[in-house]
């Protein structure tokens, strides 16, 4: 066991390849019930069952987008109010300075704009993208097929249950198409 710590320190994790989304779903379910925590599944397209098995259905993005949208709306209104009432009051068509019904379209557009920016940059930020380098890209099979038609499960060495030989044996029991050690 003396080599175990040395080896796990040099590894990012262990990766298993599967041929179908169903096999990946099965593998993720097994890994979850085996108690692994630090793992992630990789697929060329989102697989609902895998996301469900990893308990990832909910995230904080909708709340962030709501806050972004409200900020946009208030910014839009504040801008128009400042311009039309405070900085440059001008009687136009007998309308009051704060003719708020006419300000609705701009508030609306600003709501959408801010919310959309929050959705896109929030998603990228939470995902830690852009990330040009990642240890996975050193795995030949992964960098060729993960975006095409193969499915991967990676158990990371940071997982408290991670043990090179035991985890390898566990992954082997899931009948993968291949197992790879991911160098950091």
């Amino acid at each position: 066991m003396s080599t175990h710590t040395a080896e796990t320190e040099t590894l990012y994790g262990l990766m298993a390849e599967f041929d179908t989304p169903e096999a990946l779903t099965h593998a993720v379910e097994k890994a979850v019930s085996a108690g692994y925590k630090k793992m992630d599944a990789y697929s060329p397209f989102p697989v609902e069952e895998v996301i469900h098995a990893l308990g990832l259905e909910k995230n904080s993005l909708p709340l962030k987008v709501l806050i972004g949208g409200i900020t946009g709306c208030l910014t839009g209104f504040a801008m128009q109010y400042y311009a039309s009432v405070i900085d440059y009051p001008y009687v136009y068509g007998g309308k009051p300075f704060n003719s708020w019904p006419a300000f609705i379209p701009v508030c609306f557009e600003m709501t959408i704009l801010f919310a959309a920016f929050t959705a896109v940059f929030g998603m990228l930020g939470m995902n830690g993208l852009p990330k040009p380098y990642h240890p996975f890209f050193n795995v030949d099979r992964f960098s060729q097929f993960a975006s095409r038609d193969k499915f991967y499960l990676c158990i990371e060495s940071e997982d408290p249950l991670f043990d090179l030989s035991k985890t390898k044996a566990f992954l082997n029991s899931l009948q993968p198409a291949g197992i790879f050690e991911v160098e950091p």
């Binding site: 992630d40 697929s43 996301i51 309308k95």
Partner: protein, 464 residues
């Protein structure tokens, strides 16, 4: 597992992708169109035509910048001419892309999947073309940035109570959100392109824009949330954009413009025009790139139904315009409608009704909805008809206003036409570059659709 289904359940669910496809097959077919397919003569010829149009556009713009808008046919009282007609025409075309990608996503319409990517590209390029016109129309082009509210030394602000200012916000937001939506949809496919590309330059270029995407389930879950939220945001946005374009007219007190029906009628017209353009692009794309498996006759059938439905809404708008002109009992409104139907521009008005009301009626028949030639020809009628619609709305409302002494005729000059045809060149160029450099069909969504179709077949097979 009975092979002959119960006659009660004989109605087979419609599938938009053949379940015998494989994940790899879908991915390879779409990437190969870009990475393996040699540059064809047809594509080069198309690009040549597009570039010629683009050159014409550049000349036309240069002339407008040097000599001013006097080179156009606009006059008093027709101050809005081709520039606004073309602006509304292009922005309307763009709307179908957002409709397909956002509204049909929210409605869980699976047939959107194979056409959404290039329809979104169409939106983006149409908005580019549309955005040129109001800027060129300004007259003082060098200070176009005065449109935007920014603190300045004149201590001036734009007029926030004007629909024209709303338009600035609506169109710039629309362009930005369309770009974001399109790009977010592309990220996973760009990663596929990065992984499939053989040449180093292509690998690096796709790699930069793929942002290091690796298909993690954690990422996918947030990605799907973001995509759905963007769809939910783009839906009211697209409706607001053409509503505001409609308000540009409706808020003024010009007979023929001052009508409450304008916003919804403009939105329906935009979808109508946009779907015609999607068919115009899909028919050759499918033919030349052999995408018969992905863009099926069912897709065309559905699009034709949307054209028929929105065509009827637009026709209702024409009818109501005429009805309210009469019912208003207002001299000027009645004169405007009568002048539209019998005045100097009457042939255009009746041609518009033939194009937008009569031609789409063919789509009541399934034979016409599934005949590519009919689809293509009717779409051209709609494209022309929708341009005529804006011409009629703008020109016939303005050219004979309250004072007969100021009446005037309006015709586009050579440079008006050059700018219009030029933007078609710009659009063609951008679109051809797009299908050459990026996956024209969303791979990951097609793969998802394949999985759903297979799952559905499996569960249907299990029941018997």
């Amino acid at each position: 597992m009975a092979t002959t289904p119960d006659p009660k359940h004989a109605l087979k669910p419609v599938t938009y992708v053949d379940p015998s496809h494989t994940y790899a097959g879908i991915s390879d077919k779409i990437t190969d169109m870009v990475l393996k397919r040699p540059v064809g003569q047809g594509w080069l010829a198309g690009l040549g035509i597009g570039a010629a149009g683009l050159s014409l556009l550049i000349c036309a713009i240069m002339l407008v910048l040097i000599k001013g808008v006097g080179v156009w046919g606009i006059n008093q009282p027709v101050g809005w001419g081709f520039d606004i007609i073309n602006f509304v025409w292009w922005i309307g075309i763009g709307h179908a892309g957002t409709l397909i990608s956002a509204i049909l996503l929210l409605l869980k319409q699976q047939w959107r999947t194979s056409i959404n990517r290039f329809a979104e590209a169409m939106t983006l390029f149409a908005v580019v073309c549309a955005g040129l016109f109001p800027i060129l129309h300004l007259g003082r082009h060098a200070v176009f940035y005065w449109l935007f509210p920014y603190p300045n030394t004149f201590a001036l602000w734009p007029q926030f109570r004007s629909p024209l200012l709303w338009d600035v916000f609506a169109v710039s937001t629309y362009a930005t959100v369309s770009l974001l939506f399109w790009y977010v949809g592309l990220i996973p496919d760009l990663a596929t392109m990065r992984d499939r590309a053989q040449k180093k330059f292509a690998k690096i270029a796709y790699g930069i824009f793929a942002l290091g995407w690796r298909g993690s389930a954690v990422h996918w879950s947030r990605y799907e949330t973001a995509y759905l939220l963007l769809a939910g945001l783009a839906t009211p946005l697209v409706l607001s954009v053409h509503t505001i374009v409609g308000l540009d007219f409706a808020v003024s007190v010009i007979p023929g413009w001052h009508a409450t029906i304008f916003p919804p009628y403009f939105v329906a017209g935009a979808i109508f025009a946009g779907f015609a353009m999607v068919i115009t692009l899909a028919v050759p794309l499918r033919h030349f790139y052999g995408m018969h498996d992905f863009i099926t006759m069912k897709h065309f059938d559905n699009m034709a139904k949307v054209i028929l439905a929105t065509g009827l809404m637009v026709s209702y708008g024409y009818f109501m315009e005429a009805f309210f002109g009469w019912y208003s009992a207002n001299t000027y409104e009645r004169f405007m409608i009568w002048n539209r139907m019998t005045g100097p521009y009457a042939p255009f008005y009746w041609a518009l009704l033939v194009c937008n009301f009569l031609a789409p009626q063919l789509f009541w028949f399934k034979k016409c909805r599934t005949n590519l030639l009919v689809l293509f020809v009717v779409s051209q009628f709609v494209n022309v008809g929708m341009w005529l619609e804006r011409f009629i709305i703008i020109v016939t409302s303005l050219h004979r206003d309250y004072l007969p002494s100021s009446w005037n005729m309006y015709w586009g000059t050579f440079w008006d036409w050059a700018t219009f045809i030029g933007t078609m060149g710009l659009f063609t160029t951008l679109f051809l570059l797009f299908i050459r450099l990026l996956p024209a069909i969303s791979m990951f969504e097609m793969q998802m659709l394949l999985k759903q179709t297979r799952d559905k077949e499996k569960s249907a097979g299990g029941k018997h």
